[in-house]
C-alpha cells in the first residue's frame, strides 16, 4: 500500500509553495481584486516559466510529460495561494480538452503554445442559468461557422482559444469545437461576479470560425470525460484553498484574546476548527483517490472524480465561511484576506457544475460500478 505522493512530488510541492509565497502573496491577490487587471499577468508568465502550464502535456508537444500527480500538487498550491490567474481554465479544461479529443494538427498547433503559457485557453458550455444539457443547447455550427452565445465564461477575456460545446443533430446531441478568439465574430461582454480576481464574460458567436474537436456528435460524451478530469484537478485547488482557510482561522484564533485567553481555547472555536480539519481531511483523502484514478485513467474515475469534487466543494464552502466567522468583525472587512477564499469558493464550486450536479453524477457512477 502506497497511497502517498512520491518524493519528487513532495519536492515539487515545497518548491511550488515557496515560489507562490514569493510571487503570489496576498498583496498580489489584492492588487487584482482592487484594480482593473483581468488577471495577474506577471504571475502568469512566471508560472509558465516554471513549466507548470506544461506539466501534463507530452514532451512531443512541448510539455514536460509529467503525470497528473504533479499537476494536482500544483493545483493544490495555486488554490492555497488563491492565485488570480487563468490556470484552471487553460490547463484543466482547454489543454485537457485538446489532449482528450484534439487531432494531430490541433495538438501541434495549440499544445506548445498552451504549454509555454503563450496561449491561454478556456472552456464554454453554459448558456444561461440552471443546468446545461445537450437538449437545451442553442449554439450551433453550420459549415464551420458558429452562431449562438455562452454565459459567464471564466477567463474568456484573456483567452486565445475557447473550447465550445455546441448542438449536434447526431450522436449524443453535442459536439466540441475549437474557437480562436482573435476574430471579430467573437464578441465578449464583461460580467462582474462575486470574485473580481477572476475575469468572466458573456460570449456571442456571430458566424465565428469554429473547428470540430473530436468526433461530430460525441461532444456530450467528451464533455463528461473532460469534466471528470477537471473535477479532480479543481478538487485539489479547492482543497488548497480550504486548508489556507483553516490555517488563517487557526492563526487568528491563537493570537486573538477575549476575556483573558485566546479564543482558540474556547470549545466553540476549537470544535469549529476541528470540524474544518475533519472536512478537509476527508476531502483530501477523496482527492487522493481521485488523483490515483485520474493518473491511471481507472474505470473508477467517474465515481472518484464526483466524490472528490463534492467533498472539496463542501469543505471549501464550510472553511471559507467559518474562517470569516472565526475572525469576527475584522474578517468581514475589505482589509482582511478572508474574503479572497469566500469569493473564490463560489467560483470554483460553480465552474463545472454545482455540488448538486456532482452528487447526481456520483450516484450514477456508483450504479455503473455497481457499488451497492
Amino acid at each position: 500500500m502506497n497511497f502517498e505522493f512520491g518524493e519528487e512530488q513532495n519536492l515539487l510541492r515545497d518548491q511550488a509553495r515557496g515560489f507562490l509565497a514569493d510571487h503570489c502573496s496576498p498583496a498580489l491577490v489584492r492588487r487584482v481584486l482592487d484594480g482593473d487587471e483581468l488577471y495577474a499577468e506577471d504571475l502568469w508568465h512566471k508560472v509558465a516559466q516554471m513549466g507548470w502550464t506544461a506539466t501534463a502535456i507530452p514532451e512531443e508537444y512541448g510539455g514536460l510529460g509529467l503525470s497528473y500527480l504533479e499537476l494536482v500538487v500544483i493545483a493544490e498550491e495555486l488554490g492555497r495561494a488563491c492565485a488570480p490567474i487563468p490556470f484552471s481554465s487553460s490547463v484543466y479544461l482547454a489543454t485537457e480538452a485538446l489532449l482528450l479529443a484534439g487531432n494531430a494538427a490541433q495538438k501541434e498547433h495549440w499544445l506548445p503554445q498552451l504549454a509555454a503559457g503563450e496561449a491561454i485557453g478556456t472552456f464554454a458550455y453554459s448558456e444561461g442559468s440552471g443546468q446545461p444539457s445537450a437538449e437545451r443547447l442553442i449554439t450551433q455550427v453550420s459549415s464551420g461557422k458558429m452562431t449562438g452565445s455562452k454565459a459567464v465564461v471564466a477567463d474568456a477575456e484573456v483567452s486565445q482559444l475557447m473550447i465550445v460545446v455546441a448542438k449536434s443533430e447526431v450522436g449524443d446531441g453535442a459536439s466540441l469545437y475549437l474557437v480562436p478568439t482573435d476574430q471579430s465574430a467573437v464578441h465578449l461582454e464583461t460580467v462582474k461576479t462575486v470574485d473580481p480576481t477572476r475575469n468572466h464574460a458573456n460570449v456571442r458567436f456571430d458566424e465565428a470560425d469554429a473547428q470540430l474537436l473530436g468526433q461530430e456528435g460525441q461532444g456530450w460524451t467528451l464533455l463528461t470525460q473532460l469534466l471528470n478530469r477537471a473535477a479532480v484537478l479543481l478538487a485539489w485547488e479547492q482543497l488548497g484553498a480550504a486548508d489556507t482557510c483553516l490555517e488563517m482561522a487557526k492563526n487568528y484564533a491563537m493570537g486573538r484574546y477575549a476575556f483573558g485567553r485566546p479564543i482558540a481555547s474556547y470549545q466553540a472555536i476549537k470544535h469549529k476548527l476541528a470540524d474544518m480539519y475533519v472536512k478537509n481531511t476527508l476531502a483530501r483523502s477523496n482527492a487522493y483517490y481521485g488523483a490515483w484514478a485520474l493518473n491511471t485513467n481507472a474505470v473508477e474515475l467517474p465515481l472518484a472524480a464526483a466524490t472528490a469534487r463534492v467533498g472539496s466543494s463542501q469543505a471549501l464552502y464550510f472553511a471559507a465561511k467559518e474562517n470569516i466567522q472565526t475572525h469576527g468583525g475584522m474578517g468581514y472587512t475589505w482589509e482582511f484576506d478572508c474574503q479572497f477564499y469566500y469569493r473564490r469558493a463560489k467560483i470554483l464550486a460553480l465552474v463545472i457544475g454545482s455540488e448538486g450536479v456532482w452528487q447526481e453524477k456520483l450516484i450514477q457512477a456508483s450504479d455503473e460500478l455497481d457499488v451497492a
Binding site: S129, G130, I324
Partner: protein, 404 residues
Amino acid sequence: MDFEDTKEESAFREQARTWLQANAPTEAEMSGMDTMARAKFWQKRKAEGGWACIRWPKAFGGRDASAIEQVILSQEEAKVAVPETGVFSIGQGMAAPTLMTWADAEAQANFIPRLASGEDIWCQLFSEPAGGSDLAALRTKAEKDGDDWIINGQKIWTSGAHYSDFGILVVRTDPTVPKHKGLSYFYLDMKSPGVEIKPIRQISGESNFNEVYFTDVRIPDSQRLGDVGQGWQVSLTTLMNERASIGAGGGGTKFSSVKALAKTVMIDGKPAIEDSHVRAKLASWYVQEAGLKYTSYRTLSALSRGAVPGPENSIGKLVGAVKSQDMASFAMDLLEQEGVVRDREKDAAFAALFQDTYMAIPGLRIAGGTDEIMANIIAERVLGLPQEPRMDKGIPFTEVPTGS
C-alpha cells in the same frame, strides 16, 4: 388565541393611523431634500405632533407608551410613505435613556428634546479593535487634565459617526484596577478637535461603519455620566436599551425568493421546483422561517400583555443569519455557472439578491454578537447554564493576558 388587537390596541392603532394619514409629508413638502433632510423633516413633525419617542416618559416628551404600542405605531408607519428615520435610533434608543438615567437636569434639558425632534444625531463609541465579543476589554484611555479629560485611542464599528453631532463614549480611566472597574462614560461633540473618522469597507463593498480615532481629544469633566470608574454600569443602561430585536430574523434570502427562483431554473430538464431535493431543502427552511415568524408573534403577544422581551430574542439573529447564508449559497448553486454573477446592470431578476446576500451575510453573523455569543446568551441567560471560567476576573486590567 387570535391575531387581533385588543380593544385598547385597536383604539391606539386607529389614533395613530389617523394622525399619520393626516401628517405624512408629501413629496411637494420635501422637494429638493436629500435623504437626511427628509428624515429630519419627518422626525420634527412627529415630535411636534407628539408621535416621536412615544415610549419615553411624559416628563421627557414621550407618551409613556407600551412596547406593543410602539410596535403598532411602527406597523402603521410602515403602511404610509414616510421617510426612513433609522439614523435617529441610536440617539433616541440608547443615548437618550442613558441621559435620562445618568445626566443632570441641565444636560437633559439641552439634549433630550433635540434628540426627540431629530435635530441632533448621536452615535455610540463602545467597540474597539481589541474588544470584539469582550466589550469591556477596551483600551482607549482618558487622562485627567484640570477640568478636562484627554482621550487617546481608537473605536471601531461606529455606525453613522460621520453624520453624528454627538457620541456616547466609554473609556478606560484606570488600567490598574480590574477590567470592569476602570471605565468611565462620557458624551462628546463629534466635531471636537482630534476626532478622526474613517469609513470601514466591508467585503460586500459597502461601508456601514467607521473607525474613530482619538488624538488628544479634550472632553470637559461636566460631560461625564456617572462617577469615575462607574462607566461599566452606565454602559449597561445603554446596552439594556438596545432595541429588542423582535423581527423574524432580519433580511436576506427568503423561502419565497428561492422558491420563485426554483420555478424558473432547470434541473435535469425540469423546473428545479419539481426536484425533491430542492423541495426538501425548501421545506426545512420554511419550517425555520415560519418558526421565527411565529416566535415573533409570541413575543408581540407578550409585549401586548406588558412583558419585557428577554434574551430568548437572540434566536432570530442566530437562526436567521445562518439560514440566509445557506439559502443564498444554495440559490447560487441552482443558477449554476450564472450563480456567480453579481452585476446589477446585467442581472437576471433574482441573481443580485442572492449574491448580495451571500456577500452581506457573513457580517450579519457577527454584528451585534457573533453566532457563538448568541449561543452563549441562550445557554447562560435563557437556560441558566454556568459561565465558563473567567481568566480576567479580579486582576488589574494591565495584567489580563492579551497575547500581545
